[in-house]
């Protein structure tokens, strides 16, 4: 098995070259408590900062999605103390003013693009912050959609913006106010509340297994 040497918070370990950082930590003897969540790239628990030997650049990745490299020295960033505002979504308007009043620090963005460069999800973070600065909530919501809220952007931001918290505010404003409402959904909720299906459902609940099997086999499958 091909092995590589990595340093975990200053201690060197020899680990198989094919492992992700997360599995390498476990191979090295860690039973993870912090810095481990879904293990599949969705939850943002395992943000990791590392360098490789001889390279001055600081690199980042999700531990569960990044393969170890020889000479990598790393630390997990399992929590980041980012600014987050509380708000009542029902009382907001989907406007530039809302975003700027809740997170005025977005105006401090200096356009350094560091957030975009560190994003493990390849999101154009700086561009969505630019959207916030001009009140384009729909585009902000779209561009930031794949965010796993790992905190790496905020950790590197010289303007001390917590980009991902701005992004979820924008997505909720979009989803609630700007996206067109589903009329068929409102209609169906009304029908259910009026009891339109009650009798039919109860009849279904009373049916024997054989009757249900026949109905199931005869279902019309939508093409």
């Amino acid at each position: 098995m091909e092995m590589v040497k990595i340093s975990i918070m200053g201690q060197w370990h020899e680990v198989p070259a094919s492992l992700t950082i997360q599995k390498a930590l476990e191979y090295a003897g860690y039973q993870l408590v912090r810095g481990c969540g879904c293990r599949g790239g969705f939850c943002g628990a395992c943000a990791t900062v590392y360098r490789t030997e001889g390279d001055y650049r600081l690199k980042v990745g999700l531990a569960c999605q990044t393969i170890v490299e020889d000479g990598m020295y790393l630390t997990l960033l399992p929590f980041y103390p980012a600014q987050r505002a509380d708000y009542d979504i029902d009382k907001l308007e989907p406007t530039y003013e809302t975003i700027i009043s809740i997170y005025p620090e977005v105006l401090r963005c200096v356009g350094c693009n560091t957030c975009t460069k560190v994003c493990p999800q390849d999101i154009d973070v700086m561009e969505y912050i630019a959207c916030a600065k001009r009140g384009d909530i729909a585009k902000l919501a779209d561009l930031s959609f794949d965010c796993v809220m790992c905190g790496l952007c905020a950790s590197k931001c010289p303007a001390e913006i917590a980009q991902y918290n701005v992004a979820i505010l924008a997505r909720r404003l979009y989803g609630k106010y700007l996206a067109p409402k589903a009329k068929h959904l409102a209609d169906r909720v009304k029908e259910i509340e009026e009891g339109k299906f009650d009798r039919e459902i109860e009849a279904m609940m009373q049916k024997s297994e054989d009757e249900l099997k026949k109905l199931y086999a005869a279902r019309e499958i939508e093409p």
Partner: protein, 547 residues
């Protein structure tokens, strides 16, 4: 990294048959054919995988060995060392678990006037809900109805479902989607607001709603944001290690364990909601799993010790399409939406062998048969076998760019390892995905123990012996909301009596009387993936799970 030569040779055959397969439709299996396939190849029918549990309310029932190990384990704490005359927290409703069910329960309990505390083992939102990609079912289109949804659910569940629970599931479904819309969940919609809905395995109507392929993540992060906005207190890295019962055998609180400081804290609560999820991380029969790191069946152990019965624990859902290559992400989920959008399952020779949208148990069994008895699987360099999921068909059918637009998470997952799934098929094999059974509840999430409620994957009966895609995100929302509402009502009417851990003592005595040695403790809290070489060096500990 892309595919090795040996696998590329098979991919060539897949490409050659693609044109023919675009026209080809494999017929659905008859009930008899399905039965034969399931009995022959589904892991649930492997007698070596289970054994009867020797103690507790389900004594004598067959369950997976790995779960029986935990039900037959001893408590982590010494009940005599806890002074229950005072408490660190005193609340109306205690919610255990910070996933979709827990967050929904906490929100609704608070809305209904309760003073709520949520405790969770990892972070708020660290749960399988966050990982659910494919979608959420709701019969909200004019040509569909909750009644048709009902029939799909019970047929998929092989008619073992509890009717009252299914009614709650399908009738609340549109309400849940509407609730999400109001909270700002970004569902995929047409420009006029119509929900974009597709099929899932076992659906007769297109009722799968999605938020790209981050559906669960989008729902979870929105609910989490709302829990924070409403200032519901929550404690992270604080799993429950035992429930508390009062002198009238009502549930009235819990003992939690702070994983950082190693302290125990005592909570008194008028009502308790278990929303701890399932048992994927027990790796039943050695299968890899799609599940979150925390899915270790803690809630089942807690509820079992206070006398709750478990239902259909031997029915395990193996998702047909887990990643089989590359090795680094083996076991992770390839959402059913990939098949929903037109990707077919094909063997080494490039031939289809099963209709891709049969129910999950049937598709999984078909893949296992292809890789074992028929020996038509594709072998990876590490010796694992799998079959192709022909993802490039999605682009042929729906147009170029569809995968990046509709399946960004999936695309990224493979792209990270040098595989472009829009151009090359991906290799899959079944992976442990869902606990179909769980703690017995009624349609309000109430258990047989007064004051104790359960919602989500920890409960059993909603899905019978096989859950359909898109009904678990629905389940956590429907029953999380119901349990939250009902627990808040219950808390208004009931006072907590004198609390104790006597039931824990009795359980230990029962274990001893059954001749069970003190080899393990439970709940497990977290899996342990350290190597045996490392564990052997941990002098002074027992390797009994997280300390």
């Amino acid at each position: 990294m892309s595919y090795p030569e040996s696998m590329l040779a098979s991919i060539k055959k897949v490409e050659e048959t693609r044109k023919k397969r675009l026209e080809e439709r494999i017929p659905l299996l008859s009930p008899e054919e399905k039965d034969k396939l399931l009995h022959g190849f589904h892991p649930d029918y492997n007698p070596k995988g289970k054994r009867p549990v020797r103690v507790g309310p389900n004594q004598g029932d067959q369950m997976p060995n790995e779960l029986v190990d935990l039900l037959e384990a001893y408590p982590r704490i010494d009940p005599d060392r806890f002074d229950l005359s005072s408490f660190d927290y005193d609340v109306d409703v205690l919610v255990i678990g910070g996933g979709g069910a827990g967050a929904a329960a906490a929100l609704l309990a608070q809305e209904n006037g309760a003073n709520v505390l949520l405790v969770t083992k990892l972070r708020l939102g660290d749960a399988n809900t966050m990982m659910a990609q494919g979608g959420i079912q709701a019969a909200d289109k004019p040509h569909d109805s909750p009644v048709i949804h009902y029939l799909d659910v019970v047929g998929g569940g092989h008619y073992y479902n509890v009717p009252e629970l299914v009614r709650a599931l399908v009738m609340d479904a549109p309400k849940v989607i509407r609730w999400h819309e109001e909270l700002g969940v970004m569902y995929d919609k047409e420009p006029d607001g119509t929900m974009i809905t597709i099929h899932g395995g076992g659906t007769s109507k297109k009722r799968m709603h999605a938020a790209r392929d981050y559906t669960g993540a989008e729902i979870m992060r929105t609910l989490r944001d709302e829990v924070r906005n409403r200032k519901i207190p929550y404690l992270e890295f604080s799993p429950v290690v035992e429930l508390l019962l009062d002198d009238q055998k009502r549930c009235g609180g819990a003992i939690i364990y702070n994983l950082d400081t190693k302290e125990y804290f005592k909570i008194r609560a008028k009502a308790v909601i278990i929303a701890t999820g399932g048992f994927g991380r027990l790796h039943i029969q050695g299968f890899p799993t799609t599940n979150h790191y925390g899915a270790t069946a803690d809630g089942l152990v807690l509820a079992y010790r206070v006398g709750c019965k478990l239902l259909y624990m031997d029915a395990v859902q193996y998702h047909p399409t887990g990643v089989a290559y590359p090795e680094q992400i083996v076991g992770l989920l390839i959402t059913e939406k990939v098949r929903g959008l037109g990707a077919q399952l094909v063997n080494r020779e490039g031939n289809q062998f099963i209709y891709p949208l049969e129910t999950r148990d049937v598709v999984a069994s078909g893949i296992i048969r292809e890789c074992t008895e028929r020996n038509l699987g594709v072998e990876t360099p590490t010796g694992m076998k799998g079959v192709w999921l022909d993802s490039p068909m999605i682009e042929i059918i729906n147009g170029p760019g569809t995968i990046q637009r509709m399946l960004p998470a999936m695309y990224r997952q493979f792209h990270n390892f040098g595989i472009d799934m829009a151009k090359l098929p991906i290799l899959t094999y079944p992976t442990l995905h869902y606990q179909n059974g769980g703690i017995v509840i009624n349609e309000w999430g109430e258990t047989t123990v007064p004051g104790l409620f359960v919602a989500g994957e920890a409960s059993g009966g909603v899905h019978g012996r096989n859950r359909l895609m898109g009904n678990s995100l629905l389940d956590v929302n429907v029953f999380g909301r119901r349990a939250g509402m009902r627990a808040a009502e219950y808390a208004k009417k009931n006072k907590v009596g004198k609390l104790s851990l006597d039931h824990v003592k009795r359980y230990s005595e029962e274990l001893k009387a059954a001749g069970i040695e003190r080899k393990r403790v439970a709940p497990m809290l977290l899996p342990d993936y350290r190597r045996p070489e490392v564990l052997r060096k941990l002098e002074g500990t027992y390797g009994l799970g997280i300390e």
